[in-house]
């Protein structure tokens, strides 16, 4: 059994009139020492999926309407609020996109790590402080024994994100969920943070779910990838398999949309149109209005997830086919 198993997850947002599905039938597994990348554009449901795993949807109008999430054999959706809190920040941790707002500006960073440690582990204040210094040096903050008394605003964005990682790792979590951890950072800092995460993973065996809109980040850091489009997983495979053969027209379109630094392209092959809004109800395949392969079949029947090859699943009637 895998460490994290998400099965047929359904999330919907309730409006004044009805329930609009935002995540539909999402399933994936993550093992120890493995990194799963979830990639997609804004509104595809990738962040909601991560919030659902962490139990952070809370009382918002967005709620889980079906499916199951198992972590280490436990059904997360059946846990009480108290049991869930014992796991969160301890055996499961999360890193958010915005390092500026996810640290409390009025406390020293050391105090924030210490508090997190003492909440979950039976440590004296002095021991927790020693451990915090250790964690800060682990995430390569220079002069950790001095920087531990800094306030968040005294650190750069990259350092703050590293503090967030230190905090997330403080209780040796088995699963780390990183929601766009480097999107707010510069490329050079992004590289350092991603390298750091990979290094820590190889040492601690943490499972990571990395959520990003950047195919490049995903390709460089993840073992396997799930491409999401409008609440569904369009294509999922190991990273090597996926980029060896892109099956879903959306994945191909996404890749062709990225201007690369290594060669010149006169015109980008952009995907026409835009992602349909939640209010627009669709029959058939969600990508069909923008798809060059679309036929009448696509307009009336939504494709099922099919295993195109072992370990490479896709939701498309014409998986792997070209325009011809």
């Amino acid at each position: 059994m895998a460490l994290l198993e998400v099965e047929n997850l359904e999330i919907a947002v309730s409006t004044q009139r009805n329930l609009l599905p935002v995540v539909q039938g999402v399933s994936f597994t993550v093992d120890e020492n493995e990194t799963l990348g979830i990639v997609g554009e804004s509104g595809c449901g990738k962040s909601l999926t991560s919030l659902a795993i962490m139990g952070l949807l809370g009382t918002s109008p967005v709620r889980i309407t079906g499916g199951s999430i198992h972590f280490d054999g436990m059904n997360l959706l059946a846990l009480s609020e108290r049991e869930r809190r014992a796991i969160m920040g301890n055996r499961m941790a999360m890193i958010f996109q915005e390092p500026m707002t996810s640290l409390n500006p009025v406390y020293r960073i050391g105090d924030q790590i210490v508090e997190n440690l003492r909440q979950h582990q039976n440590l004296s204040h002095a021991a927790a402080r020693d451990r915090s210094v250790e964690l800060l040096s682990l995430v390569r903050i220079p002069d950790p024994s001095e920087r531990i008394d800094s306030f968040p605003h005294q650190m750069s964005g990259g350092q703050r994100q590293r503090v967030m990682i230190a905090m997330a790792l403080s209780c040796d979590p088995k699963l780390l969920i990183a929601d766009e951890p480097t999107t707010a950072l510069d490329v050079t800092v992004q590289k350092e943070v991603l390298d750091l995460m990979a290094d820590l993973q190889s040492r601690m065996g943490t499972a990571i779910v990395l959520i990003s809109h950047d195919l490049g980040v995903i390709a460089e850091t993840c073992d396997k990838v799930a491409v999401m489009y409008r609440g569904k997983i369009a294509e999922a495979a190991s990273t090597a398999d996926l980029f060896a053969e892109l099956l879903h027209p959306y994945t191909r379109g996404l890749l062709n949309s990225i201007p690369v630094v290594d060669r010149d392209v006169e015109w980008l092959e952009a995907i026409p149109g835009r992602v349909p809004t939640l209010e627009e109800t669709l029959t058939g395949c969600a990508f069909q209005p923008r798809c060059e392969l679309a036929t009448e079949l696509c307009a009336c029947e939504a494709p099922q997830t099919t295993q195109f090859k072992p370990g490479h699943s896709v939701q498309c009637h014409f998986a792997g086919q070209d325009r011809s």
Partner: protein
């Protein structure tokens, strides 16, 4: 059009605020058609029927001149509306202009806002008293004085909001299009201030009533012959034991009206806080 939708959203599901709004509408209507609904002339003196108890035909009784209290209360609604609307206009115009200009032209603003700070250091009533002693007692002067007192807070609020709007990208964009200062201030900034101005107006409306009543009570507000709720309280206060209804009715009217205005103000203020009306596009 936007303002109508804004009003509808502000009062949706708020029974107390809606009741307050309706009460205010009633007062405005009474003020407009006062001569039609008042059973007696509010100034007509009747030496025989002094201090009669509430009943028929004098619903609220009569005062020590024998004037009909009910009719005076209806005409008092006129004063309420005139004082309220007048002070709001003066306060918003003066304060709004000072606030917006101070935020936009920073050098001049430093000077103007320090002046506003000094004025704000005086309690509102004290400042009103100082100003009114320099002028004659009249309706216009009362409106002017109360308006100027509340212009200071309005200037402060609009100063902050204009400063914030000035930093918005769409203002930069307008500058890049070649828009001049007056166009930026009145075409691009002012429309975005309308909702907060509406809220501010409703609070000034309420505070102006209290100020006016206080000035009347001290004998420094409206001329004594003008029927206003504050004057009624002031003139009849010595009869509080013999004819308490002479104070209870106007007192109640002031309390209920000010309370209503505050409720309306709260409802409007809550609905302009954009955090509560975000759409779901962000998920």
């Amino acid at each position: 059009m936007n303002t109508l939708i804004f009003l509808r959203d502000a009062f949706a599901g708020r029974k107390l605020a809606t009741a307050g709004f309706l009460w205010l509408c009633l007062i405005v209507v009474a003020a407009i058609i006062a001569p039609l609904v008042a059973p007696f002339d509010p100034l007509e003196i009747d030496p025989v029927g002094r201090l009669t108890e509430p009943g028929w035909p004098n619903l609220f009784g009569t005062d020590h001149f024998g004037r009909d209290t009910f009719s005076r209360a209806i005409y008092g609604a006129r004063m309420t509306v005139i004082i309220g609307v007048g002070s709001v206009l003066v306060a918003l115009f003066c304060g709004g202009l000072i606030g917006m200009i101070s935020a936009y032209f920073t050098r001049l603003g430093h000077f103007l806002m320090r002046a506003v700070d000094v004025l704000m250091a005086f309690p509102a009533l004290l400042m009103a008293l100082v100003l009114i002693t320099l002028l004659e007692r009249s309706v216009v002067n009362t409106v002017l004085v109360i308006g100027i007192v509340y212009a200071t807070t309005t200037a402060r609020i609009l100063f902050g909001m204009t400063l914030k709007l000035k930093g918005e990208t769409f203002i930069d964009a307008a500058v890049c299009s070649g828009a001049g200062n007056s166009s930026i201030l009145f075409r691009h900034i002012l429309p975005n201030l309308l909702s907060p101005l509406l809220v501010q107006a409703s609070f000034i409306f309420a505070f102006a009533q209290l100020q006016a009543a206080a000035l009347d009570f001290l004998g420094l507000g409206l001329p004594p012959e003008v029927p206003s709720w504050g004057n009624m309280l002031s003139e009849e206060r010595i009869y509080i034991t013999r004819a308490p209804w002479l104070l209870i009715y106007p007192g109640m009217l002031i309390v209920v009206s000010v309370f209503s205005m505050n409720l309306v103000g709260d409802a409007l203020r809550d609905s302009i806080d954009p955090r509560f009306k975000d759409d779901i596009a962000g998920v």
